[in-house]
Amino acid sequence: MTDLFDLLASLTQAPGPSGFEGGVAEVIRPLWEPLVDHIRVDRIGSLVAVRPGQGGPPRRRLLLAGHMDEIGLMVKAIDVNRNGAGFLRVTPVGGVDRRHLYGQPVIVHGRLSGRHDLPGVLGALPDRLLPESAWGQAFEYEHLLVDVGLPAATLRERVSVGDFISFRQPLHKLQGERVAGKALDNRAAVAAITVCLKLLQTRHHAWDVVAVATAQEETALLGAYTSSFDQQPDVALAVDVTFGNGPGATDALTFGLGKGPTVGLGPNVHPAVHKGLREAARAIELTVHDEPHARASGTDAMGLQIAREGIPTGVIGIPLRYMHTPVESLDLRDVRRAGRLLAEFAARLDESFLTTLTEALT
């Protein structure tokens, strides 16, 4: 458990709200650098790493996308109480679930004069001190405040409207191989891609493998659109988390933790890519579960698929409980399995796969 736990711990502790991925990119770069030939940050902030394949020309390319951004908050205003204590009013970055925000530990990434990372906590007044219209509901943003315990005058010297705020929660070991923490959506996928790149070091693979830690998925799918255009892959895979079966989520289309990754199926997914993933899973005796997406998959695949004249795309999902909270939980074995599945799929790609892509759509 330890290696992968430590990897995920360092990945999740790096801050990376959408549009502020510099910190997490700095953590991923040294992890990937020894495993690839080229690595760079592209024009919008995605980290792009290329491991060349061993096939002859024309060299084909497989793109693996795992978004590195996380949901967070942004400073909307600096407020002050009658005694001069400073407070931050905030607005969400990405799909934040405000039902859990009260009492949540955070880090304010102050950028006004150098870099000030300020630990703080989200607070609110009790209902009876708020307008009656706000009673008995999840706190509205207008009633939530971030408190870093500084006088307003000092706060104004260190923090500016527009600064990012990330959730503050270490990665916790739960029972067995389960872990809980912040930003597992989607550092779990970054970890799975890292596992894949390590496995490919000792395997023959004909195609280039382009690993992309995409930026701004949570807000705009931005890194998916641009990296798919830029890299012009022959096949692309989005690796993301999916809904884990658990408290509050026992419906169909939720997936048990520790029971294997999912492979997406639906309009977002090229049927031959889905089939190729299932065949790769069978070859290594890995249990995977079909995950039907009736419409959009809610992942980078939505952007990857529609770059240029269209890219054959697939989706791999890692089951995760409590998505978009700082207590997201998953089973490390599913991360490892997703990495093995990616490596097997990559290593099996050859020219004949291009034929199956066209044949599947006749």
């Binding site: 407020d79 002050v80 109480n81 009658r82 005694n83 204590a85 407070f87 799909g95 679930d97 405000r98 039902r99 859990h100 925000l101 009260y102 009492g103 949540q104 530990p105 630990p119 703080g120 906590v121 607070g123 609110a124 007044l125 009790p126 001190l129 008995g136 999840a138 405040l145 408190d147 315990g149 500084l150 929660q169 916790h172 070991k173 739960l174 029972q175 067995g176 389960r178 872990v179 809980a180 809904f243 658990g246 408290p247 509050g248 989520a249 026992t250 419906d251 933790l257 520790g258 809610g298 409980r321 409590y322 998505m323 978009h324 909270t325 700082p326 207590v327 997201e328 939980s329 089973d331």
Partner: protein, 346 residues
């Protein structure tokens, strides 16, 4: 770093299961007191004999319990249902990390993901605690039952931190009071016998202080507390009840008690004489062990000194370390300057 406050904050001591915090406090005071014992309720009672001629029996109380949760059932999914021990806003529980039992098994409290909620109304609805579960990552009911069982307590898992001049941690209500009472025992002796009570079960009805004050039958008593500060900016607010950073907060009246006016005057005059800042907590609402102590035996003159704290009964409360220091200074001075009962200021 205030390591005493850190240890106290991070220790577990949910009402009725104060063992870990009681053992910790005992270690810190045992070398500084003449007698220490635990009563039938679990109150930790310490006697610091007086050095002067005063025959007063003085009780100083700080409750050591914290609000928390109790496991009521391990369900078929391997997660646990729970009840609240003490007053909670359900919104403080969702999305938080907890520790279960004295071994501190780590668990989380989540809910149905936002993405699967159908309407804006659902996304704004408070998740009630009946619908929440503690998830320790156990794959089956059997695996879960080996790590937690009905009756186990759970508390927030929060690492204590200090900001610039502020402390941020769980259970500062009332480990801040405990920290001050420990320091008083270390700072004494006082002119009279000081009976320190680290009381249990304040959060579920001030029960520990009730029996402790009956046992001790003090002449006068002080309560060290940590009081909620609602000093967030708010357009509609008339005035904050107390404010963080403005000094020890003196109670005059709460839901249950009109504090003994002679004791309140003594505290105010002591603060003024020693140049210690203080603020009067806006009267009304709330309640402390003062109510229980005042009613004990034939009645006890009693008053409360509290550290103001934002976000109590949540994963991390915030207090000013200056306020904490000034509570110690005021309590210490008020004890040293305590006049005979008949001479208390009217």
């Amino acid at each position: 770093m205030n390591t005493l406050l850190q240890e106290l904050s991070e220790a577990m001591g949910v009402s009725g299961a104060e063992g870990p915090v009681r053992r910790l406090i005992r270690e810190h005071i045992v070398d500084h007191v003449d007698d220490v014992r635990v009563d039938h309720m679990g109150n930790l009672l310490a006697l610091k004999k007086g050095a002067g001629a005063s025959g007063l029996r003085v009780l100083v109380d700080a409750h050591m319990d914290e609000v928390g949760l109790m496991i009521t059932e391990v369900d078929s999914q391997g997660t646990a249902r729970f009840e609240a021990v003490g007053g909670f806003d359900d919104r403080a529980l969702l999305g938080k990390v907890v520790q279960v039992g004295e071994k501190g098994v780590v668990g989380v409290i989540g809910a149905r993901p936002l993405h699967l909620l159908k309407s804006a109304a659902e996304r704004a609805r408070i998740v009630k605690r009946d619908a929440m579960r503690i998830d320790i990552g156990a794959p089956t009911k059997e695996a879960a039952a080996r790590k937690m069982k009905p009756g186990d307590r759970a508390a927030f898992l929060t690492t204590y931190r200090e900001l610039e001049g502020m402390a941020l941690g769980k259970a500062l209500d009332n480990r801040a009071g405990c920290a001050t009472l420990v320091r008083l025992l270390q700072a004494g002796p006082y002119p009279f016998d000081l009976h320190a009570v680290f009381s249990v079960q304040e959060e579920i009805g001030t029960l520990g202080a009730r029996v402790a004050s009956f046992e001790i039958r003090p002449d006068v008593a002080f309560v060290l507390e940590c009081t909620p500060a609602y000093d967030l900016p708010n357009r509609d607010d008339v005035s904050p009840n107390v404010a963080v950073g403005l000094g020890p907060s003196l109670y005059v009246m709460d839901n249950r008690t009109i504090q003994d006016p002679r004791m309140v005057s003594h505290l105010m005059q002591t603060a003024t004489r020693h140049g210690i800042p203080f603020q009067i907590r806006q009267p009304g609402g709330g309640g402390t062990n003062t109510g229980a102590i005042q009613r004990a035996g034939s009645g006890v003159p009693v008053a409360t000194v509290a550290v103001p704290a934002r976000y109590v009964h949540a994963p991390a409360a915030l207090i000013s370390l200056d306020d904490l220091e000034n509570v110690f200074r005021l309590a210490d001075a008020a004890l040293r300057d305590l006049p005979p009962l008949a001479d208390l200021p009217g």
